[in-house]
Amino acid sequence: MEQGVAGPQGLPRKNAVLRALQSLSPKAWVGLCLVLFAVFVACAAPWLAPHKPDAQDLLNMLLPPMWSANGNLDFPLGTDGLGQCILSRAIYGTRVAIVVAVSAATGAMLLGVVMAMLAGYFGGWVDRIIGYVVDLWMSFPPVVLSLVLMVGLGTGVVNVILAIVLVDWTRFCRVVRSDVIVVRRRQYVAAARLLGFGHWKTMWREILPAVGPLIITLFTLEMGVAVIVEAILSFVGLSVSAGTVAWGVMIADSRDYLHEAPWGMLTPVFCIFLLVLGCNALGDGLRESLDPALREREKEQG
């Protein structure tokens, strides 16, 4: 009963953003909250952290968390091998994580989407070449590629971001490209061209809005990936400079004291896990609210 479901007498469409927010699943909300929380912590770090992240207190090394026997209220999660407050370091570490997550995801998105649009829209040899490069890139272990790039670029957070962008744009490209190809085949794109729309106009007005939701989903998932890659690179010592604190660095430092002070490692591990969980939950939730909505609509027409 096709008409009854969508209803030609149905209400006119409400504001698109409102509608989108309404359809968010609980999963997406959880993810959104986690991510926003992390952003908040990163911004408000100086006020939230009880100590400066590199303030060494050599009298209070390897203290356990405050709820343990020898704990100290001054250091809620204890201290590391140099007497630095773990909680403060974790809070400040959020900054690096968020900065890398957002910038790397943005960069990868821009590069990947542009290539995907070109490849998917123009097809032919443009598509062949880009597709070839993407397949090549993607079949290679991303970690290995990043390492090689870091050798070539040098260490530092900016180079980490650059390396992630150069490695992960392919992920965006591949997924968005197949979507662009599907949309490109739709008759309304041909109709737009026949009405006189030029190439760029068509891409901007007809195709981009159609793949927009997918891009947003990929963006959030990419943030999660960026956090992990940064953690790996700072764990290996190729990311932040010696003075800055990042979660990966905390993990590397804590390895030597694992037996005496496991929380030194568990804290950054937990932080990474939470942020990545937030990004994944958000991305997944977004994907779900977009996909079934689309499918339902398509079912109604069919």
Binding site: M1, Q3, A6, G10, A192, L195, A210
Partner: protein, 619 residues
Amino acid sequence: MIRFEHVSLSARRASGQVDLLRDISFTVPQGRILGLVGESGAGKSMVGRLIAGLLPEGFRITQGHIFLGDTELTGMPPAQRAALLGRKLVFIPQEPLTALNPLMTIGESFAEQLEIIGMARPRRHAEMLRRLEEMELPQPAEILQRYPHQLSGGQCQRVLIAMAFAAEPALIVADEPTTALDVVTQANVMRILARRQKANGTSIILITHDLVMASHVCDEMVVLYAGEVVESGDARTILAQPLHPYTQSLSGSTPKLAGEAKRLPTLEGFMPGLGDLAVIAGCRFQERCGIGDARCGQRRIELQQMDGGRAVRCLKVGVPLGDAAGSVAADTQGHGEQRAGQADDSPLLRVRNLSLTYRSSGGLFSWGSRANKALDDVSFEVYRGECVGIVGESGSGKSSIARSIVGMHGECEGAIDVDGISVIGARGEALEQLRRTVQIIFQDPHSALNPRRSVFRLLTQGFEALPPRARHEMAAQLEGKVAELMGDIRLPPSMLGRYPSEMSGGQKQRVNIGRGVFLAPKLLVADEIVSGLDMSVQAQILNLLKELAARYGIAVVLISHDLAVVRYLCQRVVVMYEGRAVEQGPVDEVFLRPRHEYTRRLLAAVPSGDPGKPWPVAV
């Protein structure tokens, strides 16, 4: 063999329980074919699922009984019910190519079916060959080795029919078995099906939207509307003398190949959906009916038994519909009228020696590519104001012609001139001019309208593409123009803010047409614009197109596989077969006195509605 007695099926909705199907009663006697006819949304597929016992969540039978022979199906435990499927109760699906497991060969699927009906393994191969031979399939042994994607739609459907008959069931339910097939294939498949049915004496329920086809093939017919049986009885009689206003409208709105050429009465509005059914107390058709009155809407109307085994659900049987059948606007141009503007005799569209070859490359490392000639030396002309139809089956090249005319196939050879401008190789100024002269309307309104654009933005899409100067000129009158256009396509102004997902197929198609007409082109190419639409909606769209073409003097090239539609709308026709234009001329000439062998075959494959002309015959 199967008997429905006052069956009602209801679904749970937010507003409460709604009767999806109400008071369905019919009988299929042993060895007869019953046609279940209705438009989409009428509930005919639901009846099929009822018989199968595979209902979606939240649907249940609230009343009535279903009997298969002497066994009652309603209330049967699900396991027992499931055991009937494939054995006593067999289904023939709508889309044959996707109906079988693509990873199993035909032989494996067929053998699996034979295993289900309990045939011993040694006998299976011989049985499969026998059944396939009955279907007139050449080289059945080879077919058994193939995979479904290696067969054509018609071949696949015959395999499915063979599997159906192999079970020697009590009842076969064929759900739109030929809708996805070409006209000629359809005729062959129906012929084979009918012949097998007679030979085996199996009862068949044929679910279809095609009233005319059903009248030829079926013994009895049941017409469904909004979940109710509105008329039932002998198939041929129902077509010849429909009693229910809906059946009359349905029969009237179906363009026919034979008989008088009169204007199709349009049935405005649409079938009530699930949400609307809850509030309708009386006759479900009343809203669209021309002769209903207060009494019709008060309470449920019972199915009245008439003479000759017929039954009608209407209080106004015998009252003539006349001109009250739907709203019929003042007629302007009937069929077959002379083309306008005869003084200017140079053709608007001139196609000369058009050829198009597809080169499919086999990938990075294959040597040689396959060339496929989609069009081969096609020539024809279209004059101002006239309507020319291009007919053919799928693969005949008719869509390629449409696309070439608007310039979508830049690689074609030959000459295409529109109003003096060559389409092939047009650039810059000339291309812009072409855009304003010729427009195309695509078939699938769902795909042809950007789901993110509102109706207003869709209609004015042509405006967006104009060069800045022209845009500036037109900007002031834009709103007025849109309002006028909405009036032309018969949509209320309130729909301007709607999105495609909120509109019905017919409404979307109107917007589609409106968009094409916005820039006031001289030539419209309409590519299968009514395929996939319900009959009543189809009539609306056809009449709309006729009106607009007449009012604005637009010439139309109508691509269609449906000969009757072309007959209704067009003055001349071009018949396409495998990329070549095999015959062309005035519609009446070509359809009444076809000269080419293929045209004859095509015409013979179409059910005409005339009981004197038997159908289907071997084509």
